[in-house]
Symmetry: C2
Subunit: 142 residues, 2 copies
């Protein structure tokens, strides 16, 4: 049995927010959209259906937590939730706050290759806010 | 309390496959990808977090059923699962079989405006296959 390690590309493109019961919680380093990524800490999983049923339920619960945190913090026009993995094989779920005024609207955000990293001071305060919003849902430091 | 009716755009772009415990099950009329859409029969829902917890669990279970059916029937390289709703407000979840050789790979399929409808005989046999694969999961006629 292999132990879980975060995919290097996910690690390179994100900041660490913490860990819920099942998932690592990451902030995508892209200031165009408030964008959380949930990564179930189960080595070798690429599809939702690779997870046992109880992990699938935990995943849905944690999607709900991340969605609620983004909704409270950003009042988005729409949430986008997606498990794609066409580029990064390790199972991960995108949870995004979308706005009618964002650069990609109404299209999806993936496949547009112009990630805009946060200035360091902005990333820090956003990570703090998200961590604070997720702590009532059981978020712990990684 | 309003009763559930399917969004007219979803209705126009899809074929009916049947109904699971929570969701209407639709086949996207686009022969570029085997593409199922799940629509929770809950009037007024636009986000996953609009659903009560037990419906969220049913939704995950039905995503899992649709994914398994697509996997068995098409042996895709990757499944894509997404709740976007930037264009159609009614809560719906896309479950797609993706292939390294499909026209959009590795990009997502949304936002490319070139839906390719099935010839009628192909749609019919595909709907039959999907319905047969979903019947063990409780699919009924709508």
């Amino acid at each position: 049995m292999h132990s879980f390690t975060l995919d290097p590309r996910l690690e390179a493109d994100t900041y660490d927010i913490g860990v819920l019961q099942l998932c690592r919680v990451l902030l995508m380093d892209d200031m165009r959209y408030p964008w959380v990524i949930l990564v179930p800490q189960r080595a070798g999983s690429t599809e939702i259906i690779d997870l046992p049923k109880h992990d699938q339920h935990s995943l849905m619960a944690e999607i709900s937590c991340a969605s609620t945190a983004l909704k409270i913090l950003f009042s988005p026009d729409k949430l986008n939730v997606a498990a794609l993995g066409n580029q990064v094989n390790q199972l991960h779920v995108h949870v995004l706050a979308r706005f009618v005024s964002d650069t990609a609207w109404p299209n999806p955000v993936w496949g547009l290759d112009s990630r805009t990293p946060y200035p360091a001071h902005m990333a820090g305060s956003l990570i703090d806010k998200l961590a604070k919003a997720l702590r009532p849902f059981g978020l712990k430091d990684n």
